[in-house]
Amino acid sequence: MQNYHQPEIECASPEEIRKIQDERLAATVKRVYDNVPYYKKLMDDKGVTPGDVKSVDDLYKLPFVSKSDLRDAYPYGLLAAPLSDCVRIHSTSGTTGKRVVAFYTQNDINLWDDCCARAIVAAGGTTDDVVHVSYGYGLFTGGMGLHGGAQRAGCLTLPMSSGNTERQIQFMTDLGSTILCCTPSYAEYLAETIQEMGLRDQIRLKAGIFGAEAWSEEMRERLEANLGIKAYDIYGLTEIIGPGVSFECSEQTGMHVNEDHFIPEIINPETGEVLPEGEKGELVFTCISKEAFPLLRYRTRDICILSRKKCACGRTLIKMAKPMGRSDDMLIIRGVNVFPSQIETVLLAYGLSANYQIIVDRINHSDTLEVCVEMNPEMFSDSVKVIESREKELMEKLKNMLGIAAKVTLKAPKSMSRSEGKAVRVIDKRKI
């Protein structure tokens, strides 16, 4: 079985891919320079003109963009197509609370569908498959991204979204879902619930496509054994397009980057210098096909390695390793990006001290977030009722900022002050 969605791209020769990249890059840089004043200024400041970028070899000349640019240009400042051409928005959280919004034209949606379809087909998806999408639908890119890909691949698509696990399992057994798309931690929870309900022999899953959070090889083995599937990784980020920036093939030795649309680079996060293939550094992407929101040299902050080694699956697309960490302090909690600075912003606005501690754990396959804050005279009262209502108000504000619930725990004053050296703000107890 071939398992390619677009073999002419997925198995193209490096020269063919390079030709596509050169043409698309030059055209995108020109279009962005002409249409987006924010980019024009960045490029002018660096003394680069569109004429300087004729091929991938010239990519290094372009300035980087990062999350702070997205914040400064919020919401329309990086839009490269007329708003009237845009048909959809997705969003993710920003570093200090301002959300990142990404725009899509119909052509952008179409190419995204193809990217996700490549992942689904690589995982064995055909027109005979039932794809069960348990990523959240909505502003989050997970649900609608895989949904579009499954439909593009001609699969019967179940838009389950997240939550209501018993109903998920009922659909899975009644309709014979064969490919599950969700976060790896939710897949573990589903597997456990299926065991408890004694329905393991009624599950017809053959593959799972899991992403949006970190997972380990041990977790892969567990999921494969407990669900009777082959488990595939998928990578993406809203700023670039969503899931499907890269995807795993049956070799399970890294993810093929859809480099006809997104050019990857690895840089030294300290100096910005481009590193040779095979070296570990920060992953940077340049969008060369997108119309509405084509970020150039976007710093993902993911630490990663790229490899052009020949893959036994037949694909020639460059492979990236599973991200090995971050060059910033972003946490991924229940698939949601959380920055300690967001939490700090809420605490300071609430009159609390910046001495706080964030404890992340995984209990029953679900991530938990606890924010420990020091009690202060403004928050204190002789009435339990009053303190609890203030606590609740603070949790409400955190939820509004982060998009996920956080538990607040009140600690004694000065109990979390730095004693010596750097204070530990984040404790991640998750074993994955």
Partner: protein, 143 residues
């Protein structure tokens, strides 16, 4: 006729309560009455002491978060039904009670309750009009 009550935030962690109590004891501060309100996360220690200002200074030095609340100390005869009588008076006057805690002293053989209400003046009026004896802070500190 109100009394200064000191409330102290106590983190839910072994040893926290004893640290606070020891700090007060070490400075010769005598407790007249105390109660603890606790939740799963934290506790509030409520204290009536003989030297409130000194106690506050000690607690501040021990990095405690405190607040001072005005409460009423009511003398109750040590017989069945006498507390109910007092609470009934407040209830009939539409005064809702935030919390109550009791203490007894060996000297006078009587029982006392500390009452925390929203409107102290109204509660004091209702109780004194009905002949209920309230303690002044001076009386309480000298017990």
């Amino acid at each position: 006729m109100t009394i200064d009550q000191i409330s102290v935030f106590v983190e839910n962690k072994p040893g926290r309560l004893v640290e606070v109590i020891e700090a007060l004891g070490a400075k010769g501060i005598d407790m007249r009455a105390m109660s603890i309100a606790d939740t799963s996360d934290f506790g509030i220690l409520r204290l009536i002491v003989d030297k409130p200002q000194e106690a506050l200074a000690v607690l501040r030095d021990a990095d405690c978060v405190t607040s001072v609340t005005q409460v009423i100390a009511v003398a109750v005869s040590d017989t069945p039904g006498s507390l109910a009588k007092i609470l009934r008076l407040l209830s009939d006057a539409g005064i809702s009670i935030e919390y109550v805690y009791a203490f007894i002293t060996h000297e006078k053989g009587g029982a006392y309750v500390i009452v925390r209400v929203e409107d102290n003046d109204k509660a004091i009026g209702v109780l004194t009009k009905s002949g209920v004896r309230l303690l002044s802070s001076g009386e309480l500190y000298d017990m």
